[in-house]
Amino acid sequence: MAKNENNGWNDFDIGALLFSFDKETKNIATTLQEDRPYSNSNSFTASVADWRVMKPVFNKEFCIDCQFCWIYCPDMSIISRDKKMIGIDMDHCKGCGICVEVCPTNPKSLLMYDEHLEDEEALIAAWPAKEEK
């Protein structure tokens, strides 16, 4: 529960519920996340990046925009625009690795690395080569 100014027992909406948006919305499904009027109590406004031990790193060079990672991500943390994979929402990704698991390219376009490895350019420069099968 997000704190608000009035937090006495009589100040909440009844029922254990929270509204995703501060106001009424129209056509929310076709509005991009960054343009939605999320309320403070919506998880979109909270970062859970510190839950992560491993993180996915995205290498655009091999990506074929199949959207598998976008479909499978349980936290809607794959950012896709016009059916192109453009990156990962690192505020909400919990590092589960499902995107890497389902990535069909060779080599994979997403790989898991230790969270503390900060230099992503170096990781991409040392990306594994195509595996011969």
Binding site: D11, F12, A16, L17, E24
Partner: protein
């Protein structure tokens, strides 16, 4: 569009059919249920109505009572009128979800056909399951016969779905004694019944895509306490006021009067039995007999168990000398629930009545007129001598050596 049923003014229904008909007339959106004895016919009749095109809503067959109540929670949060029925072990399996339903403030209506809890396994009536639900945050009403199961079955939707109340409601009836005993039940026509209940008005519906809501959120030490306080407050104030309001409207419509507690022969009563379920009717017969013998005996039937009618009971018992609380559930290590609740009320009266506790009828053991006569006789001795002349707790009609405590 569902076909209507032309009901006779008086139909011969058992308690289960009375409950099913009230559910049909309410035009429920979703019933999720898992049948269990003795409430099985509630759901069975309902599915027959569905098969006969007499119901428009959905009927969801689930794999357990836990799933049944979970289905009800989902459907109710989504924004529909929802009801179900259960008994005993099924009720016990629902318990976890009962608290979810009330905490999420979902107006689910449930017929609970009361039955004993195993072990030993037993299909007959007692109030063990009713007592199990008493801290669950639901409004609990008790029907003493089939007519009342029907009437309360209609009124429940109107009480529970009120936007200030928004709390689920159980209607209890005694397993077999009410649920399987056919009686004359005065009916309302489908139109009159539905117009009385009114159309379902959703509130914060999960499926309102213009204002989506997340139901069943988590709160820790920051706000959990406030949520529970709000729920308790609304149950104690709004639910109680709305119940009385609906009782009054129902009386205007039908002439049948309901109140938080039902008082019989209580005018100037010296002694009184307080009980629930079918026992109320048996006790009434005996009280009337007692009155013809000049003994001022009365009966109070608890109509609304939660919210507990504290003030009403205090007032009704203020001049009564001796009172017996009849509990039809094994207290398992205490005095009975009714005894304890009544003691709380009596304590605040200037002259607290002498209170005694009787456990009876577990697993369907009959409570006879003679049993009740004996209770009244003992109460009279308490009233005459001004003190408790029996042990505080006695077990009625128990085979073997007499069992009593304190």
């Amino acid at each position: 569009m569902a076909d209507k049923i032309d009901l006779l003014d008086i139909e011969v229904w058992d308690g289960n059919m009375a409950a099913s008909q009230a559910m049909r007339q309410a035009q429920i959106d979703v019933v999720a249920a898992y049948p269990i004895t003795p409430s099985t016919p509630v759901v069975q009749n309902y599915s027959t109505f569905l098969a006969n095109n007499q119901i428009d809503g959905e009927f969801v067959m689930v794999e357990s009572e836990h799933a049944a109540m979970s289905g009800c929670v989902g459907a109710s949060a989504a924004g529909g009128r929802v009801a179900t029925a259960t008994s005993s072990q099924g009720f016990a399996l629902m318990c976890e979800v009962l608290y979810q339903a009330s905490g999420m403030r979902l107006p689910i209506v449930m017929h609970v056909v009361n039955r004993a809890l195993a072990a030993p396994l037993n299909v007959n009536g007692d109030h063990s399951d009713m007592y199990l639900g008493r801290d669950s945050g639901w409004i609990q009403a008790d029907a003493f016969n089939a007519q009342e199961a029907y009437d309360l079955g209609l009124m429940a939707f109107k009480i529970s779905e009120d936007h200030k109340v928004r709390l689920p409601m159980m209607i209890h009836q005694d397993g077999f004694m009410t649920s399987h005993t056919a009686q004359g039940v005065k009916t309302l026509s489908d139109d009159v019944a539905y117009n009385f209940i009114g159309e379902f008005k959703p509130m914060n519906a999960m499926l309102d895509l213009d204002r989506p809501a997340t139901h069943g959120v988590q709160t820790e030490e920051d706000y959990h306490y406030e949520f529970k306080a709000r729920q308790h407050h609304d149950l104690m104030t709004f639910a109680k006021a709305k119940t009385q309001e609906v009782f009054d409207e129902f009386e205007t419509l039908t002439g049948r009067k309901y109140s938080m507690i039902q008082e019989y022969d209580m005018e100037g009563a010296d002694i009184a039995i307080v009980c629930m379920g079918t026992s109320v009717e048996t006790a009434r017969l005996v009280a009337t007999d007692m009155r013809t013998k000049g003994i001022k005996a009365g009966v109070i039937g608890i109509r609304i168990i939660r919210p507990w009618p504290f003030e009403e009971i205090k007032e009704a018992l203020k001049d009564v000398k001796a009172v017996a609380a009849l509990d039809r559930s094994s207290p398992n290590g205490a005095l009975g629930m009714l005894y304890n609740e009544l003691a709380g009320c009596l304590l605040q009266n200037a002259k607290p009545s002498i209170l005694s506790n009787y456990v009876y009828g577990l697993g369907g053991r009959d409570l006879t007129k003679d049993n009740i006569k004996q209770v009244f006789t003992e109460l009279k001795a308490n009233a005459d001598t001004g003190k408790l002349t029996t042990p505080t707790q006695q077990w009625i009609s128990l085979n073997g050596e007499a069992l009593n405590f304190f």
